[in-house]
Symmetry: C2
Subunit: 408 residues, 2 copies
Amino acid sequence: MRARLEALSAGLEEMGCEALLVLAPSAEDTDLAPFLPGPAHIGECFLVLPRGGEPRLGFLTLMEREEAAGTGLALLTPDDLDISKLSSEMPEAGPFLARVWGKALELCGIAPGRVALAGHGPAGVIQGACSLLASHGWTWVPGNSLVFASRKRKEAPELAGIREAAGGACEAMRAVAALLASASHDGPGSELYLKGEPLTVARVRSEVARVFFQRGLEQPRGSILAPAEEGAVPHNSGTPGRVLRAGESFVVDLYPRGRLFADCTRTFCVGEPPEALARGHALVRAAVEEVHRRSVPGTRGWDLQEAVCGMFGEAGFPTPISEPGTTRGYVHNLGHGVGFDLHEFPTFKKASGGEGVLRAGDVFTIEPGLYEPEQGWGVRLEDLVHLGPDGLESLTPLPYDLDPRAYL
Amino acid sequence: MRARLEALSAGLEEMGCEALLVLAPSAEDTDLAPFLPGPAHIGECFLVLPRGGEPRLGFLTLMEREEAAGTGLALLTPDDLDISKLSSEMPEAGPFLARVWGKALELCGIAPGRVALAGHGPAGVIQGACSLLASHGWTWVPGNSLVFASRKRKEAPELAGIREAAGGACEAMRAVAALLASASHDGPGSELYLKGEPLTVARVRSEVARVFFQRGLEQPRGSILAPAEEGAVPHNSGTPGRVLRAGESFVVDLYPRGRLFADCTRTFCVGEPPEALARGHALVRAAVEEVHRRSVPGTRGWDLQEAVCGMFGEAGFPTPISEPGTTRGYVHNLGHGVGFDLHEFPTFKKASGGEGVLRAGDVFTIEPGLYEPEQGWGVRLEDLVHLGPDGLESLTPLPYDLDPRAYL
């Protein structure tokens, strides 16, 4: 935490800002949670970090005083902030919050000037409150990416949280493989049956939910369970009633959250895969393995994306580099950081500075894929990895095989 | 939906705005979801509603084209918005989004002018993008409360979604009561035992989670399971390892979400309640029943709050009216609307216009409570109700008793 606060203060200095203001609909906000020692059950709140100083947590209702005190942070209480009076005088959220934030900054010794703004909230209210404060001498500088950057390197308890979610993702993936492996069918193209019932996407989804429930994990962003033509479009989440078939691809992309997120994808095929699918799978697997080897501190994410585009391009597939906007072949980016948000730094995008360079402490995905909507198949293999002091560690150490039996 | 769009257009006219722009981190955003026919698995997106026109959904990645098409809305596709080019030219979120939103408004035939802004997102990015667009002639008007107001009256499928979540809350409450009723103890003040194990808050929490899992409901905001002194502070969520005891209050406040939220609270006491707790419970119950009777179309929420404060004040308890900021007695507001958000309109706050008046179609809570932190007890009873054409309907038709056996 100390290192993170110092990095933030350095960033504020570079931006010419006196303080950072983090707005949060709840203490679970992904820009606020990195400042807390653990989960806290607090509603609308905010954090003020004076440059070079200590963070203070502001909260709006006395009912939350015990939860707020439990964070161990210095507090700006509803009494400090004069909430009762302000809320009765100002029914509208924008003017009310402008007064509250202004008061909080003042209590932290910040005079009107440049303040970096991070966190999340209602767009119109934020815009309105910031405009009001701007007319009182406050200048707002976008600060979300500063906080985003500060949490690129994971602290030990954060890594533990990701590891826990990744363990759940692996268990769920094995449970999916077990379902698929125990299904019966009458050869290529025929429907899969489980205990006399057609095996649907919904049935697999409920198996995944069962594992996550037992582990206390949630799926706030859902999950992707996409057979054949549905899996050929990477973000198609799968139609519940769709019955799975032998010989088709089945993309399973799980991103559960405990305190933090994890993210893992495997692609299955029950029975003999068609030749094109088998070849696509072998190429994607080779790409994952190549990127594992190349992911060392100092590597740029974009360089890895270029390498994978090179591999797929040589094999005759279009890529985002050879055909920007393509919907067949390799159609997306290679990976993304994972943590409080499902997508955070490091980035694998072309236009990037330090946030696009892999460093020790980063947790990110490696997820090449190939997609053929016309042929009705898609393959994606996604590992979640931690770049540790002793090299790259996979947090999702599962087989890569299409055959679900390899996972048992 | 038609009535909602017309109400929005009328609101835009009143605000002198040409259009509404709703920003959303995902299609689940509570300001965006009310425009969709059902859940959609789409990431960052937005909606443009020209005054008097039809809404159009903008999305940023081609991978989501099928999910976006599934909404049935007119679309602004990544190609329409020139996403590939803009994202490669502009690595920073603020300037990138400013161009995207500007392009979207232009494609919808909106010339630079006054636009209402709603939805949610990263504070700094939104503020930055809006400032950029302001320098090109756009004027931003806070629009969250316009959308908020437009979803005060629930559409039939929304009511169905709330009803489903409320059914789960009731089942979970009965499951909690069953656990408590089957616990053994050695008289007032002694610990509760279940099958030889001390009965903890964590054990009850896992029973609640089991029911919600089976019903496909989540608890994105958690829940409150707060015994005695913990329940005496309304937002204390309960310490997992705390063992429950006979003769103490146990506040159980559940707010699961399916497509929409529900919200329900009961307070239990295993064994004989102390006199003060029994008296407090009887007063709270009388208040709930009185508010049920008074909740007719045209009633102001604040008038109901005043009535309840009157009842509790006469019984000798401080209230937010007699002692603003009190932490004993009646310490909160009487209720709130429930729907896409856990807290929405109608409001029961004093300073309110139409959003504080109960109307047919509203879904809201009635939740008086009494709290004595020094004595170590709290009581809250909360019903979720729908003001229908035939009067008030409770969506949480449970007993109010302290004795869990009454729920079996």
